[in-house]
């Protein structure tokens, strides 16, 4: 974390001093040389997506070089985070506590924010077309498009299905719908959570969700159960989750993995019925399907996804390998061993911003370091975490330099502290990304 900030600080000072000079000495550098109508700005940067990756990139671009013209394109005026949306399902946090706006980016950092959907990207002409037909011209483009779903990869889970069986894997209306369904469910009902195979957004997310729903049941619907049907045999922080579940929820949570016939092949969203790989039928009272995923639609439009559906990047800068002057950060990228998390996206957004600032100034991007922590709450005062620091190795791949996991054996005060750290982490990253203060 502190390394990250130091590097960025150093770059921004250098860029400020040398930026304009370098650009005029090296007119061939990047597409800047061909741009017209740029005014006095060093370069035009368009950022698509106002989540953890995009909002962070926009802020750090302006912070590092105020003379960049930065435009953020994000359809929502209020952004709800997936992190801590499970706490809303558990009844221990409200939606306004996971809501963020773009006032600080506009007012403090001078980012131009356009609330439109980015419809198309022309990587050759260097243009972005918005939903209202506006065309933006960029020298450098940052995309943080998040995820889209692979509709019908689970048979029957199509675009119409989430209104009956929510995914709630993009926070907002879907999260509210899922909570309403849980509240409307009779005591004694079964909540079925269908979890996907890797890779997917937020690896510990389904298991934190199961914990939070079980917590809600323990308070309000003591005879109700949680059944997780999983398309894999191992999951994030499995030992810690399992131990916590035993401690708090006994047999209220049941997990069925791939080898136990947990992979769901077909969903009837209206009847809330699912069928597994070997033909077992499960009837849910509330059905939550976290479907298989791919990079957000605009990444595909820009032609930067490969046949996996995700975006290959150069991890030293997060430049897309399949197009020039396009940087992609966050869940849409192939960045393993970094997980698809808000924290990773933020860290990658800072690396991409530093790389763009350096390139505009005609300099070599600084070495890239990344940090990530995934906190999960099993109960309101019982937190667990996994953390790592990453860098790029000599072959250009991301490697873990150090990492840690909550201890398997720990007393309640340690878990309570971690729950406190989780809240602190959320407040810190919300302030860093959107300037939200609690």
């Amino acid at each position: 974390m502190s390394n990250d900030k130091k590097n960025l600080g150093a770059v921004s000072r250098r860029s400020l001093i040398k930026g304009l000079g370098a650009a005029s000495v090296l007119p061939m550098v990047s597409a800047c040389g061909t741009m017209t109508g740029r005014g006095s700005a060093d370069a035009r940067v368009v950022v698509i997506g106002g989540g953890f990756g995009g909002a962070t990139a926009a802020k750090y671009l302006k912070r590092g070089n105020p003379n960049l013209d930065v435009t953020l394109v994000e359809p929502a005026e209020v952004f709800y985070t997936c992190p801590f949306s499970n706490l809303y399902l558990g009844g221990i946090r409200e939606m306004n506590e996971i809501a963020h706006n773009y006032d600080e980016l506009k007012d403090v950092y001078g980012v131009q924010v356009i609330h439109q959907l980015a419809q198309d990207v022309d990587p050759v002409a260097h243009t972005v077309t918005l939903g209202d037909g506006t065309t933006l011209i960029y020298d450098k483009l940052v995309m943080s498009p998040g995820i889209d779903f692979r509709w019908n990869e689970i048979e029957g889970y199509d675009q119409a299905a989430p209104q009956y069986a929510p995914h709630a894997w993009q926070a907002g209306e879907q999260t509210r719908l899922l909570r309403r369904q849980l509240e409307g469910m009779d005591d004694g009902g079964v909540f079925v959570l269908v979890a996907p195979d890797n890779p997917f957004r937020c690896p510990p997310g389904p298991y934190e969700r199961a914990s939070m729903v079980a917590h809600y049941f323990s308070q309000h619907k003591p005879n109700s159960k949680v059944l997780i049907l999983d398309a894999k045999d191992n999951f994030s922080k499995q030992g810690l989750f399992t131990a916590g579940w035993n401690e708090f929820y006994g047999n209220r949570i049941e997990w069925v993995g791939l080898s136990g016939d947990g992979r769901v092949m077909r969903v009837d969203a209206v009847r809330r019925e699912v069928e597994t790989e070997f033909g077992t039928l499960h009837q849910a009272d509330v059905l939550n399907v976290v479907p298989p995923q791919k990079a957000g639609m605009i990444a595909e439009r820009a032609g930067v996804t490969d046949d996996s559906g995700w975006v290959p990047v150069n991890p030293a800068t997060f430049a897309a390998t399949m197009a020039d002057d396009i940087y992609v950060v966050g869940d849409a990228t192939i960045a393993a061993p970094m997980p698809k998390s808000g924290f990773s996206a933020s860290s990658q957004g800072k690396v991409a911003a530093a790389a763009i600032i350096a390139e505009v100034a005609g300099e070599t991007p600084p070495p890239a370091y990344f940090t990530n922590t995934c906190y999960s709450l099993i109960a309101p005062d019982y937190g667990i975490s996994v953390a790592a620091i990453y860098k790029t190795d000599s072959s250009g791949e991301v490697e873990v330099t150090s990492s840690g996991l909550s201890p398997a054996e720990a007393d309640r005060s340690t878990r309570a502290l971690e729950a406190q750290y989780a809240r602190g982490w959320y407040e810190a990253i919300a302030q860093d990304t959107w300037g939200t203060r609690y």
Partner: protein, 260 residues
């Protein structure tokens, strides 16, 4: 200046990595693959081997191999063998096919110890040999640290029959059995090597005729999963039999196939 050289080197290495083509070439650099190919000159580009390019869990990496090839008594694919050249034991799994399958397509889940190229070698009954390969990068996701859970016992066979079965038309069959597939190479919690305990084969028969024989090696994942096709001409009974090596214990599942 040094910085620029560094950047150039880096760009070059990225380009090279991106250019690695997984069409089976390079097979002759590996003894086990060369032995499986034999004296024939293999054809590249026809056998398809699909694996995820990045896998976050090397203990169960999906594997699918297929080829457009007749599956008639006169000319059929009779074997598909898979090799992971950087695993402690390069043999992964061998499929011995018959015309009763109707389609030369098989899938499983396998262990890939480290990032490497895997190879598949297929022989046809008429003597043609096909080779394919797949580059897999294995990385443990930061949020994906796992723990050892309970050790699986041998049992609980599961078979999913084809949904609609028409005479002679290949229908998809999926099988799973619970088994630890302990390699004998892994240490237990006390630091001692855990004794080897493996399934040797899965044999599938239809009305007494062998449809498919799968020979498993140490790289087949715990709780072996196999997906393949069957194309029976008549209704009848299928038997799926898993046999453990050493003990010879078997687990069997029978299923009636009723043609529509």
């Amino acid at each position: 200046m040094r910085k620029i050289q560094f950047a150039l080197l880096f760009a070059l290495s990225v380009l090279l990595a991106g250019a690695a083509v997984a069409d089976g070439s390079g097979w002759d650099r590996h003894d086990a693959v060369r032995e499986a190919v034999g004296d024939a000159t293999p054809q590249l580009g026809q056998l398809r081997m699909q694996m995820p390019s990045v896998s976050e869990d090397g203990s169960a990496v999906p594997l699918e191999i297929s080829i457009d090839h007749p599956m008639t008594d006169g000319d059929y694919i009779e074997s598909i063998r898979v090799f992971a050249t950087a695993n402690p034991n390069p043999e992964v799994v061998d499929f011995y096919l018959t015309p009763l399958m109707g389609r030369a397509e098989v899938s499983s889940r396998v262990r890939v110890n480290e990032s490497q190229t895997l190879y598949a070698v297929a022989h046809s009954s008429s003597g043609d040999v096909f080779v394919a390969s797949s580059d897999v990068r294995v990385t443990v996701g930061g949020c994906l640290m796992t723990s050892d859970d309970d050790i699986a016992e041998f049992g609980q066979p599961r078979v999913a029959p084809p949904r609609n079965l028409a005479a002679g038309q290949p229908g998809e069959v999926r099988t799973l059995v619970t088994h630890p597939m302990e390699t004998g190479l892994r240490e237990g919690p006390d630091g001692e090597l855990l004794p080897r305990r493996m399934i040797d084969t899965l044999i599938v028969e239809f009305e007494g005729d062998t449809v498919l024989t799968v020979k498993m090696h140490t790289a087949v994942s715990e709780n072996p999963y196999m997906r393949f096709f069957m194309a029976p001409e008549t209704s009848g009974n299928a038997v799926f039999r898993w046999t453990e090596e050493e003990s010879g214990d078997t687990v069997e599942e029978q299923m009636a196939f009723n043609l529509s």
